[in-house]
Symmetry: C3
């Protein structure tokens, strides 16, 4: 079990957050439950709790992402941790040091947590394994996005959002629309949606972004592939729009942004196919007029900004679970 799921210790407790794959329904709900009180912080005059006071959290960003780094930084500071930001591409890496030597050095500075963003899938796993083999399991690793693999805190905040608005996962029809093939967000969402018992999950996108071979492998259990958006959105309770990851695509998978918008961009007309009380989600940053129409992004069904607020709370929950001591 230790080998197959390095993010749990021998007692089944979370020690790292690397992926939503392998996390039980109980653990996911536990994290979401812990996030609830943190969402109420906005009403507090003093948005500060001492749960991580005196802890050293390193934001190790091997890939630039101001937005994600900011969410972790604000979450850590509200828990009173000391936060150190490191953009590694411009530092030791340039001097020829290996990833694991960099990690060893920062660990030797008595780190308590590494929040890791990396362009290569698996980098946070590699770091967690290395910490385990060198006897430093007391340092926690949180995956803040690795390649096209996983982005677990994004997945968790999406689940928080769905639970907040829809309560019961087991009656829902959820449509994921867009570039599912390249999206670590989609992977994290799918793991969680399946684990939480969503009975119908539709993967909606063009064949170039969801090829036949992949579609055949994916279609099982609650998962269903729809290349036609009318079919995909019909009667949905939740519409999760994905960002068109232009920067991650190689070659000409797409005709043009205009054509993509025409076929798959979420307009009020297309949204009308879903249930009247369907919610619309987007992980940000949005490409308005490409994957989503401004009328939808700013419309009543959009819960895109609450997602951001819940994201801070979920990250506070994860960080305080891992490093807060005495769970």
């Amino acid at each position: 079990m230790h080998l197959t799921n390095p993010q749990l210790n021998d007692h089944g407790e979370l020690i790292h957050l690397l992926s939503l794959d392998g996390l039980s329904r109980e653990i996911i709900h536990d994290i979401l439950d812990r996030a609830v009180p943190f969402t109420a912080m906005a009403e507090c005059a003093v948005k500060k709790l001492p749960l991580l006071r005196g802890k050293s959290i390193f934001n190790l960003f091997f890939e630039n992402s101001t937005r994600t780094r900011t969410t972790f930084e604000i979450a850590a500071k509200r828990l009173s941790a000391d936060v150190i930001n490191l953009n590694i591409n411009t530092s030791s890496a340039a001097k020829g040091e290996t990833l694991l030597d960099t990690v060893d050095n920062l660990a030797a500075m008595q780190a308590d947590m590494f929040v890791v963003r990396h362009a290569s899938s698996g980098a946070p796993y590699l770091i967690a394994q290395h910490l385990a083999t060198t006897g430093r399991n007391h340092i926690h690793v949180v995956n803040a996005g690795d390649g096209s693999h996983s982005h677990p805190t994004q997945g968790l905040l999406d689940m928080y959002t769905i639970r907040h608005y829809k309560r019961d996962f087991t009656q829902l029809t959820v449509a994921l629309v867009g570039d599912i093939l390249h999206s670590r967000v989609a992977r994290s969402q799918l793991h969680a949606l399946v684990t939480l018992g969503v009975p119908e999950i539709r993967l909606v996108g063009p064949k170039t972004l969801l090829p036949a071979a992949a579609a055949r492998m994916i279609e099982k259990g609650p998962l269903r592939v729809c290349h036609d958006i009318t079919e995909g959105l019909k009667g949905a309770d939740v519409v999760m729009t994905l960002r068109l990851q232009n920067e991650r695509m190689q070659g000409a998978l797409l005709p043009s942004p205009q054509e993509y918008f025409k076929s798959y961009g979420l307009t009020p007309e297309k949204l009308a196919l879903a249930k009247p009380d369907a919610i619309v989600m987007h992980p940000g940053p949005m490409n308005r007029g490409i994957e989503i129409d401004s009328a939808v992004a700013d419309g009543k069904q959009a819960v895109i900004l609450p997602q951001v607020t819940f994201g801070i709370a979920v990250r506070m929950a994860v960080m305080s679970m891992l490093a807060g001591g005495g769970q």
Copy 2:
């Protein structure tokens, strides 16, 4: 009133600091009064007050300025706020997100204040208006310099400096020397000097930097244009030198730095035309040997470094007024 002056609420209280235009003499003096106790902090062993504890202040710098960012960061930290620095040019903006989407996202992270620096005039206004129309007036905006429009905290620290050394504004002759046309600092200074009742304000500079058309529009009330520096400095109580904004000028407005120095650079000889107890100010960073001679910059009449110290205190005053609660 709300429309014409979005920085005041319906009770006439300051909720944003966007510009000194439209601020009354009472409000300006109120800010300066509040800054007084903060200047005494240097003598404290612990330069830290809990006025903004648990508040989240985002330094949104769409234009790089380490110096200005540092003054706001140190002011916020001395008030115990959590400070998040964002250089936006390298982040979401590059991913195609709009300014207002970026603002919405950061607001959703339960921000309390945005300190905004932007190359475009009016950006902080735009942000403040957007926050108002989306019902989030509890988030405060401080303009840290927008295009060639305004730099209100610089204007306020200049007024603090003049009041500190000269007490009464209503008896003063103030000379602004240099590139008034391109200077947001000059604009902020002029608004404040007029509001505070300075009877004679001289705008001193070459015709290329202060063309006839502009000069005609400007010359009213206490304002007077002087292209000859001898005339401009004669009997002045305060000499405010401006930085030659090479980076903001387009085309060949100036002959050469050497010629500029010869005509308008503040030397001891030229300064001797002013009153013997005249003070010399500069917003920094200085171009020694261009707009100011080192003998003046380092001389007894210079109050350039006290301006910096007062600048921290004034920023603490503004921040605590806006977000400190219970005004």
Copy 3:
């Protein structure tokens, strides 16, 4: 005395840390003694002490070094200081401001300490002297590496490491291996080793990196030059490997990394020449396979990661000595 050693005040107390040259054995041991309790922090749940609460520490990095900046930032935060990071190459320097004007400005922000990294040897001295001549000796300067001159906190953490493992300096044979000519680390180590009474210090490297003229000047007291590594390592208690500073070398001083590794790279075979309980040190970041073999870097005799841990403690000791008040 004031002139010859600006880092001590008239009572012989440390007010700046600029170089290990001129520091007495007593002062060095005093710093190391003060670091001891800070190394125990790893076992504390709350790694935070209030010694520098309300102090403003500016990390002035005129040369990029994420690793060194991080060690000072974490040390300062564990002492509860407010830390401001400034990468100066991208800011005021670009606007034509002089080094001393930048320093004056930051000093006017009521700084308590400058941690200075600069590509030019002597820059921290220049800053300390300027603060003295302008009557601001209450602001402390810590040299975080200046050109090829000095890196005193690195030298101190190396001495801490040797004392930790070997206790008595006066019985030791220490070998420094590598690019001694270009290394500010080596200079700092040599000053400290001589001061602390090490009876035999061997400088081991190729003639290109330690030319005859330099070698003749160096060989005195305990210092001995060895171009042959067998001779250099024989019976050593401490082997200090230096990083091959490719980025600091001009011209073709070296044949190739492969040839360098063959002659001077620390392999298990070469290390076997030293005493069986010899320790291996490296200042990081390591070039594995160039100056050190992975089998040695990861072997039982390596104390490279403890060096990093001790480095935080030593920096906390220096910072709290200088600015902690009541010495």
